[in-house]
Subunit: 337 residues, 4 copies
């Protein structure tokens, strides 16, 4: 870290801070500047509370340099991680496509949808059985019954089932039906859940919180990795900004940024990322063009009658068209779909 | 809700939508405008997915009118709720002050701090035993041992203990030591946790998520209220914005807005809300002046050596000065402290 | 607009508001709801201050329905506008590419760069002569001398010159050298500048302000259109959010949203939209895939020595590679480049 | 500045960068770390483009240390600047109150309002004659006729007139009537306007842009100061965030932050900062409690009939009550009003 002293403070003030740094078994280097003195601190300061030096006399600000994640870092593992479940491959040049309804509503709805997903060439099927809902009065999901329907859809189609787990004590139950565990945006910093998922051996899709920084996102993944589970895919699903014409703002630059920092694959969720069905197909094209490692898309046989997220769900027809367009672009940029 | 049709769409298109509305047992009123037709929908549409109509042919946008929370609403209960634990009273003209360190680090640290809190006239004592930390490598709290130290501080001082619970299966444990359960910002939408806390009889301090809207915040409270626990205080602790000179942006207008919408009391957290100790005392003054129902403040005997949040912790001396200033302003605006 | 009355207010309160609405020569329709009464107001209320009704007794909120722009609206003109200058065509299926340095620094730098731009197949050349700089101590541009160098580059290459005008009384001067006038993000709501540019006959590239809403952006265009100049291209260059790993956040969904609302073409600026050179080529690909009508890209013969925006400037080599990739994707999605 | 090298890059890479630093007549200090090498650069690098080093081989990131403003800095001038016009004093312990309507609409409206402002004890009167409006179809102000009415109000009441100037060639005209020139939020980075105002001798109120960082805000002030005008008051009027229940988000911590960085006084605008009249009086109290140097408040004899900003305008009665409350709090915190 870099400790910047206030202008006009003495050499002694900087030396005093340097002495405190040395007490923490870190090496301080004081640089006496024209306007300010600065202390560069050498050593692994990840486990210390770096910001507290800011309250010391004469200190203006403290700037961390090392990112705190390690296992997730490309510096630790340079080859890309491929997250795999049945035929679904995400990362390492594979564009993994996951589609399905927001919520499991009935066996009929799931089977009809899963057949279309299968036919489109996608390899993953999504559907929520445990639903985190903003309002306690909204449909909360079919729970275990929903998981059974999803398992039946896998039985018939061979698609890998991606479904959300909301709380640590459901991990075993959900993992007994699912092929990929999803951790939702609202739970990105639910650390007991991250640890529980880290302790099982299911591939995991970790969604970015709506206001999480990139470092917070990678540190959430680090919780899972640190417990042993190395099959983690990151999912960018949009951030909260002042924009109101989209539900969230989907920053595709996240794909390239994350690919430069981590070996974990990056999936884009254009459904939550925009919130409106008409924006989803073009955003799928853009995500493929920027070489995302996967897509997760909400679709429904009858969006206006969906129990949840109808406004952002593609009809099955539009989804099939969208997959064709994605295939053309995947070919153009050299991704396997 | 209001369904706005696209310009140039026919009367028949609006009638078709109105017919679908009627199928949901809601009453549609079509208003034929000069440029657009609009359908006003009468009836309680809270349990329906309101936005799905947007995908119907001819619909431009759907605008909800009713807020989805009911029990939290001032329309349901007009007199203010007073959250009370031992001598701590929050709401209804009482300014409840809670102070203490971010983390419980040792019995000594807690006792020294609690005595100052007591002396200052505050009635609540905060301290984290289970700590949600961004990095898995940071100090994670003293856990049950920490809770025991907090209980000892209550024993000596009579202060009400406010401490965080992070996961549903810890609720009983934490409730057996604490006087007020805190739900942290990262867990504002951890619905199983909200339900578990809603099912116990401890007063609860619910922190706003860093990117939660006001409706999301009130609906999170609604989860707790809906399970039976009516002793809920809301805590504004700052939102994530583009500002970088503060850790979060603390919007004090939340106090007045929330007081106009809900009977639940509003506590301000100027420590997380700013992230820097020098900003905390003036923000306390401002929060009292705007008639917040409470304050929760991080303090530490030696901030540069704190295990967490040192940069935003007041020294014990500064805290005592701050309380004096708050008292002057509380008197000026007519709050009991 | 829709005027929502507070819960518990009387029918008379709603009737009183309706009477005020009628005074403004608008038609009120009262809908008596189960929980609230609502007044739907029919008629063109664009020229009135719509929000003021909110201060009337019994009113809870006022929701506008009509967007305030007219000439920019697709409802006014359904066929896409093609902005054209020399061989540069933006819109209507044409992908217009504009590239060049942030600032004009010397004739040599401009000529070297322009030749590469020409060779790459792009038709527009950008370069700042009048530079809006955050600090008064930064390089402020070569001013008219810079414009002369740009004109010389057009002379040799035939590229259309795109350059910024910062203040109304420079419009004639800049227009005498430029083929396209650029209005920068900081000046998006500099109304005298918009009016001055609206009064001349040069094609104009209007950049979105960093915190402008879509309606504000389209209304800024409306100022230009309203004065007679119909050759306006909109440029999305990123919005300010809490993200710090990019300079701004570039929301590509803007392209599809704007194409659904306006006939004006949409240009993407991935250089300002990301702030880092390594993010620019992938963002160019994504922008083409989502069918933007144009791209404006900062490039420099020697980015580390650039007078401004070096960090986000592509080298000439990388730019040529980027153009090749864009061409492949443009072919895949059916855009002419 | 601090240049952070990528992990795994050689000592030679760092030396090469250091050599380039030396070419710019700055002194490089290389610190060889355990995981990374870092180059601390000593010397005034304000006039250089600091970020461009990021594109050099082996560089991970560049972190500036020196803020770029100088004249505005408290390090340059430690005693607070008092901005003064007639009896209006802003700063140095004086709480300067400015009130009046958004727009000048008629002589009658202005006189009625000015008399109440005078009676309340405020010393400044605001009113817009040139109005920057989002839509070209909205009321654009009474222009010079409006300025004359304002001058007449000063004549009668002795209040200092604060009014906006929107474009450089109006500066002389507006300055011939006004006592304080206001630069609006939309024009905070209209550099020609800043320079023109910097070249005249009128006290100036500079509003923060809705997405301006603190450094950008202070650098905008620096443009004015650098031209010679030292009578600059800063005005925080709210930033754009994801919140929708307020028009902007008003971060009161700006007051304390800015007072720690600059000698210029800070005025709070609770009207634009919240957008709703009922939020203005409590926000005034909070602003006084945090020791803002001034307030600027929108008021109107009949808000529902205001030509602009009706929803956020206080009635004259509410304004007088608000001033009484402010006075009590000003006394409590030791501000002269």
């Amino acid at each position: 870290m870099i400790i910047v002293m206030k202008q006009g403070t003495s050499r002694e003030a900087a030396e005093k801070i340097a002495a405190r740094v040395a007490e923490l078994e870190l090496k301080p280097h004081i640089i006496y500047g024209e306007e300010r003195n600065v202390i560069a601190v050498v050593g692994d300061d990840r486990r210390k509370d770096r910001t507290a030096f800011e309250t010391c006399e004469g200190v203006d600000q403290v700037m961390p340099i090392l990112a705190e994640y390690k296992i997730a870092s490309k510096e630790t593992k340079s080859e890309p991680t491929i997250v795999q479940a049945l035929d679904l491959k995400i990362g390492g040049g594979h564009l993994g496509i996951i589609a399905g309804p927001c919520s499991v509503e009935s066996e009929e709805q799931i089977m009809e949808t899963a057949r279309v997903v299968k036919r489109s060439g996608a390899k993953g099927f999504r559907g929520g059985a445990f639903k985190p809902r903003t309002s306690p009065y909204s449909f909360q999901g079919m729970k275990e019954e929903g998981l059974k329907i999803l398992a039946a859809a896998r039985e018939e189609t061979g698609l890998a089932i991606v479904t959300e787990v909301m709380t640590p004590h459901h991990v075993d139950l959900v993992a007994s039906y699912a092929d990929v565990l999803q951790i939702g945006a609202r739970n990105m910093q639910n650390y007991q859940l991250l640890e529980a998922v880290g302790g099982c051996d299911k591939p995991t899709l970790l969604k970015r919180g709506a206001s999480a920084t990139m470092d917070e996102f990678l540190l959430a993944a680090e919780y899972i990795l640190d417990r042993g589970n190395q099959q983690v895919a990151l999912c960018e699903r949009g951030i909260r900004t002042f924009e109101t014409h989209t539900r969230f703002t989907l920053p595709l630059a996240s794909v390239t940024y994350l690919q430069s920092k981590t070996h974990l694959p990056i999936v884009i969720d254009p459904s939550h990322g925009t919130g409106h069905a008409y924006l989803v197909p073009p955003m799928c094209s853009a995500a493929v063009a920027i070489k995302a490692d996967g897509l997760i898309v909400e679709i429904h046989p009858d969006p206006p009658n969906a129990m949840s997220d109808g406004a952002q769900s593609l009809t099955l027809d539009v989804f099939e068209e969208t997959m064709k367009q994605c295939r053309v672009i995947a070919d153009a940029v050299g991704l396997k779909m």
